[in-house]
C-alpha cells in the first residue's frame, strides 16, 4: 500500500516537474521577443457560477482591446500587445488545476484568476511553486493571498464589515449600532464578525445582535427586539431578498432607523414592492453601471456594444485586473514574474472599482465605493 503511494507521489512530482519545465520554455518562447504578453485567465465559463466567469472574461477583453488600440503596454523600450488566454475551471478545484496546467503549457506570463475562491485555493500552492504573478479579480477567501506571488483586487468579506463599521461610527458618528445577520451563511457571518469587532475598536457599541437562518421570511421578532434598544443604525450584511423582507417589515413596524448593508444588497430594488422602504439605505458595492463617472460610462458603452449586456461588478473586476497587470509591467520594465510581483506593491491604479494600491500581503487598499438608494434609484456615493 505504502509502495503504491510512493509511486503515485513520485509520478505526481515528475509530472509537476515536467509541467514546470515546459512552462519555463513557454515563457521564453512567447516572451517579449514577439511583441506580445500572454495573460492566462481562469474562471467558470460553464456550471452554476458561469455568469461570474463570463463577466470577468468579457470585462478583461474590453480592457485588453482598449490597451492594444492605444499602443499596448510600454515595457522598457518596447511596446507589448496584451493577449488573453481564458480557460474554464467550472469553479471546481480539480478542473482548475488541469486548466492551469493547460495555460502554463501555452506559455502564460501572468495569471488573472481565479474568479471563485474554491478553485483559487486549489491551485494557490501550484502557482506559487511556479513563481508566476497571480491576481484574483473576485475571490474573497482570506487564504487566497497567503503566498507571496498572489494578489487580490476585490474586497474580502471581513474588509467589507470593517469598512461599514468605519462608515457608521466614524463617518456618520453613530456609536450605537444594531446587527442583523444570517448565522447559517459564511458570507453573512464573516462580514458581521468583522463589523462587530471593528465597531468595538472604534469605540462604538453593538447594542443589538440578532440572527436568522437561511430561508427565513419573518423578521418581525428580530426587528421588534432592535426597536426596544437605543440603536441608531442597523447593519444587515445579507443578500438582496432578505434585505427586501427586512426593510419592508421594519417600515411596517414604524421603524425609521437608517439601514446599511454589504454588497449582497445589489439588486434589492427589484425585490421590494414599495421602494420608499429602502430610501436612504447605503450599501457597499465596488461597481455601479449607472455611475455618471466618465470612465465607468465609457466602459459600460463599450461592453454593451461588444456583448449586448450591462456589465456587473465581476466585469469591472476583470477590467481593472488587466489594468493592474499593465501597470505592473510598465513599472517593472520587464516581463519576468518575479519583477512583476515586486512592482505590484509600487503601483497605483485608478480603476472602475476605485483607486487601488497593494500591500506586501497581497491585499488591496482602496477607497470604498458606496451606493445610496435615493428616490428609488441606486446612486453612487463617495466617502473619504
Amino acid at each position: 500500500m505504502k509502495k503504491t503511494l510512493k509511486k503515485v507521489v513520485s509520478l505526481g512530482l515528475l509530472g509537476a516537474l515536467t509541467v514546470a519545465s515546459l512552462a519555463g520554455c513557454g515563457t521564453k518562447n512567447t516572451g517579449a521577443g514577439d511583441g506580445t504578453f500572454l495573460i492566462g485567465g481562469l474562471g467558470p465559463l460553464t456550471g452554476a457560477a458561469a455568469s461570474y466567469g463570463i463577466s470577468v472574461k468579457q470585462g478583461a477583453e474590453v480592457a485588453i482591446d482598449e490597451i492594444n488600440a492605444a499602443g499596448g503596454a510600454k515595457v522598457g523600450d518596447t511596446s507589448l500587445q496584451l493577449k488573453l488566454q481564458f480557460e474554464d475551471d467550472e469553479a471546481d478545484g480539480d478542473t482548475a488545476s488541469a486548466a492551469y496546467n493547460t495555460l502554463m503549457d501555452k506559455g502564460i506570463q501572468a495569471l488573472l484568476g481565479t474568479v471563485t475562491s474554491g478553485a483559487g485555493l486549489a491551485i494557490a500552492d501550484q502557482t506559487n511553486a511556479d513563481g508566476i504573478l497571480q491576481i484574483t479579480p473576485s475571490g474573497s477567501a482570506k487564504d487566497l493571498t497567503k503566498n507571496p506571488n498572489a494578489f487580490r483586487l476585490c474586497f474580502t468579506d471581513p474588509l467589507q464589515g470593517e469598512t461599514m463599521a468605519k462608515y457608521a461610527v466614524e463617518t456618520l458618528g453613530l456609536k450605537k449600532v444594531a446587527l442583523l445577520y444570517n448565522n447559517s451563511d459564511d458570507y453573512s457571518t464573516g462580514v458581521a464578525e468583522a463589523f462587530e469587532s471593528k465597531v468595538k475598536e472604534l469605540g462604538g457599541e453593538v447594542v443589538a445582535k440578532e440572527a436568522f437562518v437561511t430561508d427565513a421570511v419573518d423578521f418581525n421578532t428580530q426587528l421588534t427586539s432592535i426597536k426596544g434598544t437605543d440603536a441608531q443604525i442597523i447593519f444587515a450584511p445579507v443578500y438582496y431578498q432578505d434585505a427586501a423582507y427586512i426593510t419592508t417589515q421594519a417600515s411596517e413596524l414604524g421603524m425609521t432607523l437608517p439601514f446599511i448593508g454589504s454588497d449582497g444588497w445589489d439588486g434589492v430594488l427589484d425585490k421590494v414592492v414599495d421602494k420608499k422602504v429602502l430610501e436612504g439605505a447605503v450599501f457597499l458595492s465596488p461597481f455601479l453601471a449607472t455611475d455618471p463617472d466618465t470612465a465607468v460610462q465609457s466602459f459600460v458603452t463599450k461592453y454593451k456594444e461588444k456583448y449586448d449586456a450591462t456589465p456587473d461588478q465581476f466585469a469591472a473586476d476583470g477590467y481593472d485586473t488587466v489594468y493592474v497587470i499593465k501597470a505592473a509591467l510598465e513599472k517593472a520594465g520587464k516581463t519576468d514574474s518575479k519583477d512583476l510581483i515586486k512592482a505590484m506593491t509600487e503601483i497605483e491604479v485608478k480603476g472602475l472599482t476605485g483607486t487601488v494600491t497593494f500591500d506586501a500581503s497581497g491585499e488591496p487598499n482602496k477607497g470604498a465605493k458606496f451606493v445610496e438608494i435615493k428616490n428609488g434609484e441606486y446612486t453612487s456615493k463617495t466617502v473619504e
Binding site: 440572527a211 437562518v213 419573518d218 421578532t221 421588534t224 426596544g228 427586501a244 423582507y245 411596517e252
Partner: protein, 292 residues
C-alpha cells in the same frame, strides 16, 4: 414591557396563521386518518392564484379573494379524489408517500409556470398601523388576527351546529357506523378537504399580504410548523389545532426575542418532544385505546 407585548403580538400573528393551516391537517387526519403533507403547498397555490387573479385578470379584491378560496377548495377535493381515495384501503405508509409526491408535484408545477425566482406582490390590505402608548401594531397584524378569529369561530359553529358538521364528527368517530346511519362518507370527506384547503388559501392570502413576495417553496416551512402545531394540540382535535398553532407562534417569538434566535427552532421542537413524552396524544387530544 412594551417590547414584551409587541413580541407577544408578533407571536400571536404568526401563531394564528399556523393555527389556520393546522386546522387543515387536523381535520383531514380526524376524518381520513391520514397526514396530508401536500397541505402546505395549497398555501403556495393560494398565493399564486391571488397574484394571477389580481395582476393578470385584474379582478376586484373581494372577487379575487373568493376566487382564490374557491380554486383551493376545488383543488383540495381534486387531490383527494385522484391521489388519496384510490388508496383508502392501502397501508398508511403508501398514503404518506403519495402525499409527499403530490406536494412535490405542486411545487414543481409552480416552478415550471412561475420559475424559481420570487415575485413581488403588492399587499391588498392597506391598513395604517395602530399606536397604543408606546406600542405599534401593524395594520396587517390586526387584519390577520381578525380574519383568523372569524375563520375559527365560523368553523367551530359549522362543526357543532350544522348537519354536515355532525356528519363530519360522526365519520371521524367511526366511518363504518356512520355509513350504516346513512351518512355519505365520500361526500363528508370531500367537504373536509374543501374546508381545510379553503383555510389554507386564507392562510396563503394572509402570508403574501404580510411578506409581499411569492416563490414556489413558500408553503413548505409554514406547512411543517403547522403540522407540529397540530400534533402539539392533539392531532384530530379542532380546538387542539387552534391552541397548538397560537402556542407555537408565541413560544417561537418569545424564544427568538429573549433566549436565542439560533435556538428558537430547537426550543419549539423541544417543547413538542416534552409534550409528547408527558401526554402522547397532544394537549387536547383524546386518549384513544385501539381495539384489536
Amino acid at each position: 414591557m412594551e417590547s414584551i407585548i409587541e413580541q407577544f403580538i408578533n407571536g400571536l400573528r404568526s401563531g394564528s396563521i399556523y393555527a389556520l393551516i393546522a386546522l387543515g391537517y387536523t381535520m383531514v387526519y380526524g376524518i381520513a386518518k391520514m397526514i396530508n403533507f401536500a397541505h402546505g403547498d395549497i398555501i403556495m397555490v393560494g398565493a399564486y392564484v391571488l397574484y394571477v387573479s389580481i395582476t393578470d385578470f385584474k379582478m376586484p379584491v373581494i372577487a379575487a379573494v373568493i376566487f382564490t378560496i374557491a380554486i383551493c377548495a376545488l383543488l383540495g377535493i381534486f387531490i383527494e379524489k385522484v391521489a388519496y381515495k384510490p388508496l383508502r384501503k392501502a397501508p398508511p405508509l403508501a398514503v404518506l408517500i403519495t402525499a409527499i409526491g403530490v406536494s412535490y408535484l405542486l411545487q414543481s408545477v409552480a416552478q415550471l409556470i412561475f420559475t424559481a425566482n420570487s415575485i413581488t406582490f403588492k399587499s391588498i390590505i392597506n391598513l395604517e398601523a395602530v399606536h397604543i402608548g408606546g406600542i405599534t401594531i401593524p395594520g396587517i397584524t390586526i387584519v390577520t388576527l381578525v380574519v383568523t378569529s372569524v375563520c375559527m369561530i365560523a368553523l367551530t359553529l359549522f362543526i357543532n351546529k350544522t348537519k354536515m358538521g355532525s356528519a363530519m364528527r360522526a365519520v371521524s368517530e367511526d366511518k363504518a357506523a356512520a355509513q350504516l346511519m346513512g351518512i355519505n362518507v365520500n361526500r363528508t370527506i370531500s367537504v373536509t378537504f374543501a374546508i381545510g384547503s379553503a383555510l389554507a388559501a386564507v392562510a396563503g392570502i394572509m402570508f403574501i399580504c404580510q411578506f409581499q413576495s411569492i416563490k414556489p417553496t413558500l408553503g413548505a416551512l409554514p406547512g411543517i410548523k403547522a403540522f407540529v402545531a397540530a400534533v402539539l394540540g392533539g392531532i384530530g382535535s379542532v380546538p387542539g389545532a387552534m391552541l397548538g398553532g397560537v402556542l407555537l407562534g408565541v413560544i417561537e417569538s418569545l424564544s427568538k426575542a429573549y433566549l436565542s434566535t439560533e435556538l428558537s427552532d430547537a426550543i419549539v421542537f423541544g417543547v413538542l418532544v416534552i409534550v409528547l413524552l408527558v401526554k402522547p396524544s397532544g394537549l387536547l387530544g383524546k386518549n384513544r385505546i385501539e381495539k384489536v
